[in-house]
């Protein structure tokens, strides 16, 4: 197959599939509730004992307090991912909190939180770290 035709097929195919998926509503992100965040954490960390789940008001993430330590679970497209916060840098951002996990497979994450949420989450994270 001529290279030009192959390139056109590949580029056109990817663009067409992306457009169809987006227009058919398949770009929506998962929304986390306390229940789904708990299930998502246990999926990441089977057998862990969860003490507290605090979803963000917009449902894009939840702070987890568990026997294995503090963690964050967040929407990743229609699915979820999770990471422990040990070793992560958590810093205030203009709209909430910024998480840097020092992990090439999990680049930094900026969460939108209300001012009250941010203050509460910072206190919870600090308490979890002090207890560790």
């Amino acid at each position: 197959m001529p290279l030009e035709l192959l390139l056109a097929l590949v580029a056109g195919g990817i663009a067409a599939i992306a457009a169809i998926l987006h227009l058919s509503g398949r770009s929506e992100r998962a929304v986390l509730t306390a229940e789904t965040a708990r299930a998502a954490w246990l999926r990441h960390c089977p057998g862990d004992s969860i003490r507290n789940v605090r979803p963000a008001a917009d449902g894009q993430a939840a702070l987890i307090a568990a026997q294995s330590g503090a963690g964050l679970v967040w929407a990743f497209g229609a699915a979820t991912v999770a990471r422990h916060l040990s070793g992560a840098e958590v810093s205030p951002s203009p709209n909430g909190l910024r998480f840097d996990f020092n992990d090439f497979s999990a680049p930094g994450l900026s969460l939108t939180l209300t001012a009250a949420e941010r203050k509460h989450w910072q206190a919870l994270i600090a308490a979890a770290r002090a207890a560790a």
């Binding site: 192959l6 097929l9 590949v10 067409a16 770009s27 990743f76 497209g77 991912v81 990471r83 497979s105």
Partner: protein, 310 residues
Amino acid sequence: MNGTLSYPDVTQLAVPFFIAAILAELLWIALKNRGGRYETRDAVTSLIMGAGSVAEGLLLGLAAWGGLMLLWRITPLDMGTSLWAVLVCFVLDDLRYYWVHRLGHRVRWVWASHVNHHSSQHYNLTTALRQTWTGTFTFMMVVKAPMVLLGFHPALVLFCGGLNLIYQFWIHTEAIGRLPRWFEAVMNTPSHHRAHHGRNARYLDCNYAGVFIIWDRIFGTFVPEQDHDRPDFGLVHNIASFNPLRVAFHEWAGLFKDIAQPGLSWKQRLLYAFAPPGYSHDGSRSTSAGIKADHLARHPEDAGTPGFDS
């Protein structure tokens, strides 16, 4: 036989079929409201990984081709190009695929390349195309050498490898449940391969087959998909990026970061590169064996069931 034998590049020729099949699967899911799920960024990432893998093959495959042609010149054997030769080559190449794939899950150096194929939390036809960009650096091409030395022309070996990959495309779907028993007994199927993509403890390190599931049955790695324990797709530690560069290189980055830790012995550094994924010098991580053991500690009732029987 001279050295100029050529076969069509079947993976390139199959591109229009791949696109049409993806659209057909998507339409099926939309109409039936079952049979899998698609997510825009996940699918686009998979497709870009597929395109990149083809490009990597075009750019770096020449070195491997040169090596195989060198072997072809020195081997006294020539199996020819008859239909029988093609069939035997196809079966032997599938056996080769089984072992390379098994190494791809059991040796971190090879897993670093293969991991991206398992990095989607979705399982649809685009997942089939989420292929490696770094296969050349695993040096697994050397496993093709015995076939060339046995008298199969490198072009025929690569042709059979291409057919093998095309076969595996259609089994990356949830739209097909189970096929007739005789087919499930001999061939790799969507059901068997869903189990292979499962991150559940039960399904770790099983069903490495490309075309014929018989290799898993022979070598003791077969685990049938269980209706009461549906495969949960993705990695034990799922990645949090749709960026193709991160998808392609994240395990390599982790591997070299581990190797470079201060205070390790040379043996520990080598184990970080070549031991099974999940190895750690301080026991802070779990290999698949450890994950299965942890699961059985929580669920002793699963002992002796498929995936937990050794």
